[in-house]
Subunit: 111 residues, 2 copies
DNA sequence: CTTATAGGCAACCAAAGGGTTGCATGTCAA
DNA sequence: TTGACATGCAACCCTTTGGTTGCCTATAAG
C-alpha cells in the first residue's frame, strides 16, 4: 500500500539521525519524560530537541500528552517492530545465500 | 565501541532514502547486477544512481567487483542483520510494556 | 498578583543531500 | 585502430535538514 510505504519511509528517515535514536534510547531507559528532561545532557537547544521530537512523533515513534504546563513523551515501539517484521526479516530469509554470492564474487575478483 | 556506532549510523543513513532501499530490493531480486542494469527503470541519471551506490557501499550494504568494463554489485545483508540484532531486538524486548505505558498515558489524557 | 518555569512559534542560517550536465577514461568488438 | 559502450570524476544547483536566536503564551508557585 502507498500510505504504508510512506509510513515506512518516515520511520527510516526519523531513525537516520543519531540524536533522534539517542532520544528513543532515553525514553527506552525511562518512559514518559518531559521535554526539559529530554533536553538534559544533549548539547543542543530546547528548540532543536523539540524539532527532533516532532519528527519522531510524525513517524509515530513517540506519542506525547500534556500534563499541566509540561509535555510527557512516550516511546511507541510499534513502528520499529514493523520495520523488523516487514523489512529486515525479508533480507534475513536469504541472508546466507546472499553472503555466499558475495563471497564467491570477491573470490573470483582475486583470480 | 565508537567505530561500531559510526557504522550503525552509516547504515541507518543509507537506509533513510527510498531510492537506496529500492536499489537494495533490486539486488535482492537478482544479485550481481551491473551499474547500467541498476539504472534501468529508475527515473534518474546514471550518476545519481552511482552516488546512491557509493553510499550503500560505504555503509557496507553493497560490495562491487569489476569485470572488464562493467561493475557488478552484490548485496551484503550483514549490516541489515546487525541492525535487527543489535538495535531493533532491543526495543522488541520491552515492546509490550512500552505499549502499555503508552496506552495508559493516552487514557489518562482523556480524563 | 507577580514571577519563575515549561513549552510553542517563527525567522534565519550554514551545511548536507540528491540531483544534474559535461567531459574523461578504459575496455570490448568489428 | 576505430567506434561504441560502461563507467568515473568534477563542477554546479536547488532543496532539505539540523541548528540557532528571539519572542510569545500558559501554568505553577510565592
Amino acid at each position: 500500500m502507498d500510505t504504508e510505504d510512506e509510513a515506512v519511509d518516515g520511520v527510516f528517515r526519523a531513525l537516520a539521525d543519531t540524536n533522534r535514536r539517542a532520544l528513543l534510547d532515553t525514553l527506552f531507559a525511562r518512559n514518559g519524560q518531559t521535554l526539559s528532561e529530554l533536553c538534559e545532557g544533549r548539547g543542543m537547544s530546547r528548540q532543536a530537541v523539540t524539532k527532533h521530537l516532532v519528527i519522531l512523533e510524525n513517524a509515530n515513534l513517540v506519542a506525547s500528552v500534556k500534563r499541566g504546563r509540561e509535555k510527557l513523551h512516550y516511546l511507541n515501539p510499534a513502528p520499529i517492530h514493523e520495520i523488523g517484521e516487514r523489512w529486515i526479516s525479508k533480507y534475513e530469509r536469504t541472508r546466507l545465500e546472499a553472503l555466499f554470492d558475495l563471497k564467491k564474487a570477491l573470490e573470483n575478483d582475486n583470480e
